[in-house]
């Protein structure tokens, strides 16, 4: 259903507020279908916010965005879809290491990855990925 809506009605995300409304509906659906997921997202938020330089904001297309010194690390939509921007090389490595790491649901030929958080263990994977992304951003900042 989510993929269908993104594929055929994704252009509507440019209507101000509509993506946020859609994310609120995803929250409602998640509350019914997999309420633990909302707790896991909270747990990820709490953990990531303990790291220096991290903040959370609302993602412009709905969901919770994690930042490192103001730059986006990734975001989690309220149906548990984690999207994260890495390099294509790292993306390939991660996809080979863990089958849960997939091509981004929209941008296939890019460094973006998607992970569908469904089970409790997926929470740990998400935290590891954010940790990885944080290190990459920190290394990049040091090199610059």
């Amino acid at each position: 259903m989510f993929v269908f809506i993104i594929r055929y009605f994704g252009f509507l995300k440019f209507v101000p507020g509509l993506a946020l409304l859609f994310d609120a509906q995803l929250k409602l659906w998640t509350l019914i279908a997999n309420p633990n997921l909302l707790d896991w997202i909270d747990d990820i938020e709490k953990e990531v916010l303990t790291w220096p330089g991290t903040t959370v904001t609302n993602h412009k297309y709905g969901g919770l965005q994690f930042n490192y010194h103001g730059k986006e690390l990734g975001h989690i939509h309220s149906n548990g879809l984690l999207d994260m921007l890495l390099s294509r090389k790292i993306k390939q490595q991660l996809m080979q290491q863990d089958r849960r790491v997939q091509d981004h649901h929209s941008f296939k030929n890019s460094g973006w990855i998607s992970v569908y958080l469904k089970y409790h263990d997926d929470k740990h994977l998400a935290i590891e990925l954010f940790e990885h992304a944080c290190k990459l951003h920190a290394d990049k900042a040091l090199n610059n």
Partner: protein, 307 residues
Amino acid sequence: MINSIKPLYKGYIVSNLVALAITGFSKYILAPNFWANGATPIIYSEFVIIPFLMGIILSWYLRHTDASSRKLTGYACMNAWIAVVLSFIFLGEGIICLIIVSPLLMSFVILGAFAGKAMFRRNNQTLNASIFAMLFVMFIVDSLSVHHYENKVADTIVINAPPAEVWKYVVAYKRIESPSKYWLFRIGMPSPVQSTADGYYLGAKRKCIFSNGYVFDEKIVTYEENKDLTFDITNQPRDPEIMGHIDILRGQFLLKDNHDGTTTLTGNSWYRLYVFPVWYYDIWAESVTRNVHLRVMEHIKQLAETK
């Protein structure tokens, strides 16, 4: 006394009281046509801005409780549900209407609750004041704007019978006995079951009878035998599901001879909506109207094709 009430209950009470006060203010003071004819539209602000504000108010009361996302979503749904129940009790809204409106209300209360959570976590008074000012301006502008929306829904089916045979059942038809397939009809929304007419001529009175006994009074305004039957709705039932939400203005059946023993039957309906935003309610209005058409037209098809 008030200090002994839990923050959550304060959130429910205050947000619903604020919603009630703003709705009353909008309906009885701001609505430009209220004093003229009493047909006050229920506007965008009442379905979007007020629920959003209800969510923010709820979050304000929960700002020191560290409520998890799961709990906040649940509380927001409960808040919307309380508003729905209060609308049923005090505003006399119909159950089907409330089922239709619930997803919209819940979504905006959830959206408001999480927006409020982010606002109060940041605790930037300038930002908070700006958001409330923006909501207030949107509300005033929307309340003072003219709201007028009319639409037409058209549906077509092919009947394996000539126009003269179909025409017999277009003007009036006997009671529909088959169960309805449309989910809203199945859960209790009235569906059309019979149509009667004083006669087969221009100006004749026609009645469309619904499953709950409600009757739409109609008058035939175009009568072209085997081609065009158009009727105006002269009186519609005072059903809480309809009153103040939608007016059915006109109905029409057009018959086209396909010259192969079949007839293309087109059903058209014109209606005016009194509930906004249109992008939400017109989806429902079109769906209901379409299913009213199809129920009647499939019945006509069955009657005309039965030898």
